[in-house]
């Protein structure tokens, strides 16, 4: 009996622990930018989700492709229909682990790397992405900037518009995370 109680306590404690170490942001801002001599294209999605487990250093970030807003509606439709095929691949995710040890209890700024899998357009690639983590008063801000090569993720650009779309797309992620229930 004692054992069962101990077990129960342990299970509750550990699951509780996972929750307690979880930081989240549901309005994670993901933007991208394509620069060519002919045209600059950019879009923003402010409905991304990012989760950070400060105990295990695990990170999950997710963004819905249809949530990207372009200034040009026709371009937005083409992005979804012809390039990202968002009906088939509705979201992009990054699941990784922060390589460095970070003391989340103290205020400070840390330059870290996150190693994990980046899934875009249904193609998963292992990536190590540089990130900046800023901790201030229990709020964790994570900033990422990295490039995605269209060819790595089998996103095909027809030759006719090839000159207007960059081969490497610059992606910026800005997320301000708090613990659920706090703020």
């Amino acid at each position: 009996m004692k054992k069962i109680i101990a077990l129960a306590v342990l299970v509750i404690a550990t699951t509780g622990l996972v929750q307690a170490q979880m930081y989240k942001d549901k309005t994670c801002k993901v933007s991208f930018y394509s620069h060519t001599a002919l045209e600059d294209i950019s879009a923003v999605d402010t409905t991304g989700t990012m989760l950070l487990n400060t105990k295990t250093n695990d990170v999950i970030a997710q963004v819905m492709i249809k949530g990207f807003i372009f200034p040009n509606g026709l371009m937005q439709e083409h992005f979804n229909e012809n390039y990202m095929e968002s009906d088939k691949y509705p979201k992009s995710t990054f699941k990784g682990k922060i390589n460095e040890k970070v003391d989340y209890t103290k205020d400070g700024t840390h330059n870290v790397t996150i190693t994990g899998n980046l899934e875009v357009h249904g193609v998963t690639k292992p990536r190590t992405l540089p990130a900046t983590i800023t901790i201030k008063g229990g709020v964790i801000t994570v900033d990422l900037k990295f490039n995605i090569a269209l060819k790595d993720h089998e996103i095909k650009v027809p030759e006719a518009v090839g000159a207007k779309i960059a081969e490497n797309i610059e992606v910026t992620v800005h997320t301000v995370m708090v613990q659920p229930g706090k703020k």
Binding site: K3, A6, L7, L10, V11, T14, T15, L17, V18, M22, K24, K26, S42, A43, V44, T47, T49, L51, N53, K55, T56, D58, I60, Q62, K66, I69, P71, N72, G73, L74, M75, E77, H78, N80, E81, N82, E85, S86, D87, P90, K95, P158, A160, V161, K164
Partner: protein, 312 residues
């Protein structure tokens, strides 16, 4: 020792499940605020061949469009080699400007060669199909007002004006339709119940003893099948519910088939149809060519859109 083992196992388990836990947690967050996920691009543009689609001009975008219909291709419909299969002729040309007042409402004006028709129209997509099928179809209301500014003797040709008073109101005509569309995989399909009203009709009797009426119903169907990511085949058909126009060799139901090709910002539409008019106001009451007698003509449309929304 046993206790220690148990403890160790539990710790390892909870650590191993951490990523899965996070994924599960993420999924639960997502479900909690699942927004309406609208089906995009049921049709590529706001016109199939003759039929309108549920698509409207994008918000803050101006679309300038030229639609052209050549002459009949078949020899027995004045086509053949002497007109280079219709290329020498242009049965209708329409210039138009359409503007998106919102993502769901657009307005347009246009001018056609046929009857010198001037038209003003709006389209309001009040329901958009969602991926979870809570809204299984997209529905739009489309309405257009036409005005025929032809010379008096042209407009009233065959009418004895000594016994008939000409009025400006005669020159107006109206078309209202509901467009119900669904996209299912590579196939998009729509039905268009339509009502046509013309303020003035000339009243000859057809061989069956039926007179033309000011108003009549029509019903269209249209479809698009995606062959590749950027190439589709399209088709549309209108049943004309006017007794005066049925069962004679003077009028036929409009049928069109076409190919849509998309290259970046441009959509090329090349089609064959028996209707000469481009606007509903013209082709619903006035399609007089027979597919079976070579009464089909080549048509194409080119458009250029200008986006005025440059800010995020």
């Amino acid at each position: 020792m046993k206790k220690f083992l148990l403890f160790a196992t539990l710790l390892i388990c909870s650590a191993a499940f951490a990523q899965d836990d996070m994924q599960a947690y993420l999924d639960s967050l997502e479900k909690a605020d699942a927004k309406k996920d609208y089906v995009l691009a049921t049709f590529k543009t706001f016109k199939v061949i003759n039929a309108q689609t549920t698509e409207t001009t994008k918000h803050k975008t101006l679309d300038f469009r030229i639609i052209h219909r050549f002459g009949n291709m078949g020899v027995s419909s004045n086509g053949g080699g002497h007109t280079l299969w219709g290329f020498d002729d242009s049965r209708d040309i329409r210039f138009s400007f359409d503007y998106g007042l919102s993502e769901k409402l657009s307005v347009g004006i246009g001018r056609s060669k046929q009857f010198e028709l001037l038209d003003a129209n709006f389209k309001w997509r009040f329901m958009t199909q969602t991926t979870n099928n809570k809204q299984p179809v997209s529905i739009a209301l489309y309405s257009t007002v036409g005005f025929i500014p032809q010379r008096k003797d042209q407009f009233y040709a065959g009418v004895d004006l000594a016994e008939f008073t000409a009025k400006t109101s005669h020159r107006f005509n109206y078309v209202t339709q509901l467009i119900v569309a669904r996209k299912q995989g590579i196939v998009s399909f729509e039905v268009l119940p339509t009502y046509v009203h013309r303020n003035f009709v000339k009243g000859p009797m057809n061989p069956n003893g039926d007179f033309d009426s000011n108003g009549f119903f029509a019903c269209g169907v249209a479809a698009r099948v995606k062959l590749t990511k950027r190439v589709s085949i399209t088709g549309d058909y209108f049943y004309i519910g006017s007794k005066f126009r049925r069962g004679t060799d003077a009028f036929y139901d409009p049928i069109g088939i076409g190919i849509e090709m998309e290259t970046g910002g441009h959509i090329f539409n090349i089609n064959l149809t028996n209707s000469a008019g481009i606007m509903e106001n013209n082709f619903l009451p006035g399609t007089q060519d027979n597919w079976l007698k070579g009464g089909y003509k080549l048509g194409f449309s080119i458009s250029r859109s200008f986006a005025f929304n440059t800010k995020h």
